[in-house]
Amino acid sequence: MRHGRLEKADADEAAVNRVVLPPTDEAISLLRTMQLIRAFEEQVRSLFFGGMIPGLVHLCAGQEAVAVGVCSQLRTSDKIASNHRGHGHCLAKGADVRRLMAEIMGRRPGYGLGRGGSLHIFDVVNGNLGTNGIVGGGIPLAVGAAFSAKRNGRGDVAVCFFGDGALNQGLLFEAMNMAAIWRLPVVFVCENNGYGEFTASEHVTAGRDPKARGASFDIPSEAVDGMDVLAVREAARRAISRARAGEGPSFLVCTTYRYGGHHAGDKQEYKDTAEIEAWRQKDPIERLGRQLQGENLVTSKVIAALKGAVETEVREAVEFARAAPMPEPQDLGLHLYA
């Protein structure tokens, strides 16, 4: 199996990432949010193939645990900056399902009047500084929000999500250095899914251990099993409490996997099916479901009911967006300036 080198780092940290089951309500909420993201991405995929979504969409099915585990530790006033694979981040941070779907479909009730699309989802109410079409582009935005939060002194934090591809953007290092010297309340969250587009990250990424990149700035850095929402939640809890306490930035390298192609339509000829299958065995939603059932906290019926409910919610969002108007000619020039 490729994408294995990072598995190793993962294992090294297994002890640190000892799982702590959260209160049942919270555990159910984690499960539900992951289900919601999965259902959302499935709908987006079929809308894309049905010709209802123009342009490019990048789906995060398989990676839900990272967004959900991290955002479960954030409050509304905390900020996130997301990337091109960002629907999960948006939903985990509280986005309205209907407005999100509308934006992706290019409809006027969307977060950006349907002018931005999947790569440009902003949600001021929930502190989302945007998905982003520039690899690495969101990273310093989060650091800036953390800078502002530090000035404001209300204990807010900021998180940036980025892929393994962004590990090679110089911007990341500049941002980490500043976060470290100014002890800014920011958490750098790398979703290491083993690929940047069609290129395996091991071909373009030096160093056995990506954590070392954060550690070189004396930033507390840990490897996290990104397929385990509880492990992510724990690591995020530690990092975020450090940040709130004024102890500065952290770096989490979450090993994860995208089930689908780089974008909807990519046939993934560069992956072998055994690899995909192996990762599907680690599915974060199944896993949490099993854990909860194992502890007798929920039944499979409840899980199915939750799933049914989010699927309905997403379907309704699709109906809403389908029925919504497209932007009008006069929208072309709106909001050029504040």
Binding site: G116, L119, E197, L332
Partner: protein, 347 residues
């Protein structure tokens, strides 16, 4: 010598004879130039993101990795600035890199290396070092890619002394200009409109070089000159066709390169027609139409019967939604209407 096919140009300088021409796509034409030059010259290498086994996100480098191997077709990390700097250093040391920036919007990331290093090395070193390099990038509004994946910032590169800037409109020009760009000893920025990739045209099978700095009259006419770049040439030709039905004879001139700009061909056309519209696909404000219009006006002032009109991209971020993205650029009908207004003085 047989009569050139499809050659609509009366000025022989810009008219190319096309032996063994076949109908192929713009994409294939560029690929042919790349492969041809890589075969001819070992120092030509290709550097970019996913240009290797994947063959490019637009299949624009398909097959090169298989033929030339990973030593010459290099997949980089997502490190545009560093990788482009590397390409410049390699060029200074004797390689001839073709560097690809996946989306034209991302050339913002390599501007320091382009402007402060590549463009100036030959000058600053008094010719000790040159930078024989091509920066190619795919641009173009119309694929619903949104504000960060649709821009064409060719106006920026045209502003910087020391660079050459090329914008082909046809498959034949794409092959001929890419070949010339690779052979050029200077940094050449090569803008490819991705909406042209599937457009077909006659392209010579054998070596084909179009000199950088030669405009071409793509359609001769008498009443008005439309000076159009890259994809806008096709819109201009379509507008010319519409106007022909109204007995308006439009001349369409394609500068093909912005730097050097073949101002003589442009001015000759305007002196003949006395009217001009300049059309470009970049943002209109402080874009290239201003320079072109102002230069022509300086040289042909006494010949002009009307102000030179300029048509460009709307001055807003490029929206992704299907309903309004098309409003960013003129279509043939809109352009024809502008021309008609100009001719009838009803502006």
């Amino acid at each position: 010598m047989p009569v050139p096919r499809r050659c609509q140009n009366r000025r022989t300088s810009a008219c190319t004879y096309m032996p063994n021409a076949r109908n192929i796509t713009f994409r294939s034409a560029v690929l042919e130039a790349l492969a041809g030059e890589m075969r001819r010259d070992q120092s030509v290498i290709l550097i970019g993101e996913d240009v290797g086994a994947a063959g490019g996100v637009f299949k624009q480098t398909d097959g090169l990795h298989a033929e030339f191997g990973e030593e010459r077709v290099i997949d980089t990390p997502i490190s545009e600035a560093g990788a482009f700097g590397l390409a410049i250093g390699a060029a200074m040391a004797g390689q001839r890199p073709v560097f690809e920036v996946m989306f034209g919007d991302f050339i913002t990331l390599v501007m320091d290396q382009l402007v402060n290093q590549a463009a100036k090395v030959n000058y600053m070193s008094a010719g000790q070092f040159s930078v024989p390099l091509v920066l190619r990038t795919a641009v173009g509004i119309g694929a619903n890619l949104g504000p960060q994946h649709s821009q064409s910032l060719h106006a920026w590169t045209a502003h910087i002394p020391g660079l050459k800037v090329v914008m082909p409109s046809t498959p034949a020009d794409a092959k001929g200009l890419m070949t010339a760009a690779i052979r050029d000893d200077n940094p050449v920025v090569f803008f490819e409109d991705r909406m042209l990739y599937n457009v077909s045209g006659e392209v010579p099978q054998s070596e084909h070089v179009v000199p950088i700095g030669s405009a071409e009259v793509k359609r001769p006419g008498r009443d008005i000159s439309i000076i159009a770049t890259s994809r806008m040439v096709h819109i201009a030709l379509a507008a010319a066709e519409l106007l022909a039905h109204e007995n308006v004879s439009v001349e369409v001139v394609d500068p093909r390169s912005l730097v050097p700009l073949d101002i003589d061909t442009l001015v000759a056309s305007v002196k003949k027609t006395s009217r001009a519209v300049v059309v470009d696909g970049g943002y209109r404000q402080y874009g290239v139409t201003g320079e072109i219009a102002a230069t022509i006006a300086e040289e042909a002032f006494d010949w002009l019967d009307a102000p030179i009109m300029r048509v460009g991209g709307a001055n807003v971020p490029i929206p992704f939604s299907k309903s309004i993205e098309p409003l960013m650029l003129p279509d043939a009908a809109k352009l024809a209407a502008i021309v008609a207004q100009l001719l009838h003085g009803t502006r």
